[in-house]
Structure formats: C-alpha cells, structure tokens
Amino acid sequence: MIRFGPLIVLAALLALWQAAGMAMRVETLPTPLAVLPELWALFASGEIWGDLRASLYRLAAGFVLALATGVPLGILCGRSAAVRGFVSPLLALFYPVPKAALIPILMLWLGAGDLSKITIIYLSVTLPIVYHGQQGAAAVEEKLVWSARAMGTGRAGVLLRIILPASLPELLLGVRVAIVIGLIVMISSEMIVRQNGLGYDIFNAMDMAQYRLTYAVIVVVAVLGFVLDATFERLRRRLTFWAPERQDQLPTGA
C-alpha cells in the first residue's frame, strides 16, 4: 500500500486533470490523453534529450560547486563561533532575496549562457546546504568529539571523521531541500534567459501557443522532480541508515 501510494495518487491526479480538461473543453487545458501523443513525440523524435541534458548539466554543475563549498563552510560555521559570526548575518541577508530575480543582473555580468545559470543555481542551493550543515555540525554530541580527541584524533581529523559523518543526516536533509530549490531556479532561469533546457521548452511552447507541448514538458519536469527526489531519498536512507528516522522532513523550497 505504502509502496504503491505515489502511483495511486498519480493516477488520481491524472484522472482529476482528465475530468477538468473534459469539463472545460478549451484549447488551453488539454486532457492528459491529448497530451500523451505529444509526450511520446518528444521522446520518439529525441527532441527532448538535448534540453534535458542542458538542464541537468546546469543543475549538476551548480550542485557539485555548492556541495564542494557549502559543506565545508556549513560545518565550519557549526563548529566555529568566529566563522558563524561572519557567515550567519550574510545568510540571513540573502535568505529572503529572490535568487532567480538576480538572473537579469547576472546576465549582464556573466553573459546569457550556462555560466549565469549555473551561478544562480549555485547561489540558491548553497544556502540550505550551509544552513543545514551548520545545524548538523552544531548539534553534534560534544562527547563524541571528546571521545575521539581522547583517542588521539587531531582537529582536522575530528572535523573529517567525526563532525562530517555525525552531521550527515541533517546535512542530507539540506541537500534534499536544495534539490527542490535547484529545480525551481533551473526552470526559472531558463525561462528568464532562454537558450535551451526544460524551462525554455515550457515557456517557449506557451509563448508559441503550443499548449499540448507546454503540458507535455511540464509532465517531464514533474517526473524529473519526482525521480530526482526519490533517487536522492534512497541514497540518503542508505547513507544514514544508522541514524534515528526523522519523519517531519519532506522537501519544500523556493
């Protein structure tokens, strides 16, 4: 039942959409059955792959950068009052800034290509990673650190072998939030500065009044979001199976 839960919900949502489409009978709300051939054509013609690849490349590049810098920064924040004193106010300042809105400005600096989009994804996803990294590192049981120190572990060793694994459950929750945020920013940035990618596809199809295509790409994005989240969730569980289960954290973000 739990296993098939998402499938049942999915079927229910599709049925709802079908019913709404049949009731409204307008071109701007095609039914899923009408969208299906369009979806099929997208994959059959191979048209979607280039855009899917372009989008995923930006998301992944932004993410790798964010992990490489955000994880160490977050952990240092959690362990050092001086670093926290420097970084925390900046985090608080940037937290409410609509990052995707910076795209037109970033485009002026970095051009209209991948660089500005990767940068904006990087900026957006780093925030939750740093924040949760800090939370995780700050909450590490002090006695774990003491035990390791008593066994001769040095300061760097403590960060790497004690703090990092001990903050992993919290850190990975941050990454899960970051995935959702990354998707949002990916779509928004591709839509504001259009070259290729799924965001471009959606809004371009809409601007061209290709409504079925619009819905077909939205379906692709929805599936992508679900697959990324579900895949990461499996990885997260495998990496933190040793930690007590937390129920309250499901992804949301802006």
Binding site: M24, L93, P96, A100, I192, Y211, L250, P251
Partner: protein, 248 residues
Amino acid sequence: MILRALRSCYSVLLLLAAWELFARSGMVPRTLLPPVSLVLQRTAIALATDTFVADLATTLFRLLAGLALAVGLGIALGVISAQTRAGRAIFEPLVRVLGPLPKIALFPVLLLTLGFDNTPRIVLVLIDAIFPVMLAAHYAARAVDEKLIWSARAAGTSPTGCVLRVILPAAMPQILTGIRVAAVIACVVVFLSEMVQPGDGLGDQMIRAARAFRSVDMFVPIVVISGLGFILDTLLALVRRRALGWAG
C-alpha cells in the same frame, strides 16, 4: 546596544562597503554595478513615489492573499489528514509526488486557465507556500502526545474539541515555523510571477528597469521584496516567541 548590533553583523557591513568601493573604483561600469548607496537612496525615493507604492501594494496584496490561503488551507489539510488512517495514507504519497515539482513550471498552466491578473499569481503563491505549512501541521499533529488527547477525552472534550483545543495548540510551534518558511517562499514566488509575466507589481518594475537599462532601478525592487521577506520573517519569529513562550 546599537554598537553591539553593528558588531554582530559586521560581515554584512563589510560586504556593503566592498560593493560600494568596488562600484566606485571605476573597475566596473556603472550600468553593471551601481554603488549600493545609490541603490538605497533610490529605494528611499521610490518608496515615496505614488506609482512605486501602488506596485508595492499590488505585490503585497497578492503575496498576503496567497499566503493567507496557504496558511488556512495548509493547517486545515495538514491537521485533518493527520486524524485518520486514510488521511495519513494519502498525505505522504501526495506530498512525495507534488512536493518536488517546481511549482513555477505550473505557472503557464495557471496563466492559461486563470488569466493574467491577480488570480494566477495568488494561486501560484498558494501552491508553493502551502507545502511547508501543511507538512508542519500534519507531522506536528501526528506527533502530539496521545496521552494529552486521552486526558482531554477523559475530561469530556469532544473529538472536534480535541482537534481545536488540544492538537492545534500543541502543533502550533511547528506550524509557525512552517509559516515562516512559507512567508519567504511567498515573497520569492510572487516576485518571480511578476517577472515572468509583467503587468504590474515589483517584479514588473524590475523587468521594465532592466529593459530600459536603468540599472539602479533594477536593484530597487529586489531590495524592497527582500526587505519585505525579511520583515515578514522577523515579525513571524516575534509572534512565535510572544505567543509560544512555553514551547521554548
């Protein structure tokens, strides 16, 4: 007191100073990066200008309407779904399917079906901001100590009364945390919606400034919407502390 506050956010001051100096150094053209002092000055002027305030009011209306709906519906759906086995069974997969969907991708659908005015933007804010509220309400309601409910039931409280007078207050700390997250999301989303489909509002101001190469004016709406997010977040934090001193 003020000195301590200033010292506690010295990195922000450092950043602003660096921005100012860099922008004035002549190493970057003014059109790419105007000095921060100019941006703040222009923000102050804008906030005293009728047309800008009208746009601000438009954005604020959409933001608050969407947020209010998200809070109301989110709490109701979250708490009610936590009460029955069927509700819990539906809730989780629903959130797992819809949670990771970047809602902004649905904006075209909203525009197509709801038009170009307030409604699609309010609905976008609603569907984006409802998740943190709903999740917080649902899991907090599930986590309420059963013995609290037993005690209330034993004292003669009806099941509905239990939800209203026991579960809801007990879940309130987490719900308020969820609302804080939702408020910032709402700010971001309403601005994005106005950027993507301009017409009026702060996002529209920004896009128009960008198209007319008024680079200072590009920063002004971003400063204002970020400020709005910051104020909302701070206010909600204050409410949480005031109303829920007991929760720690």
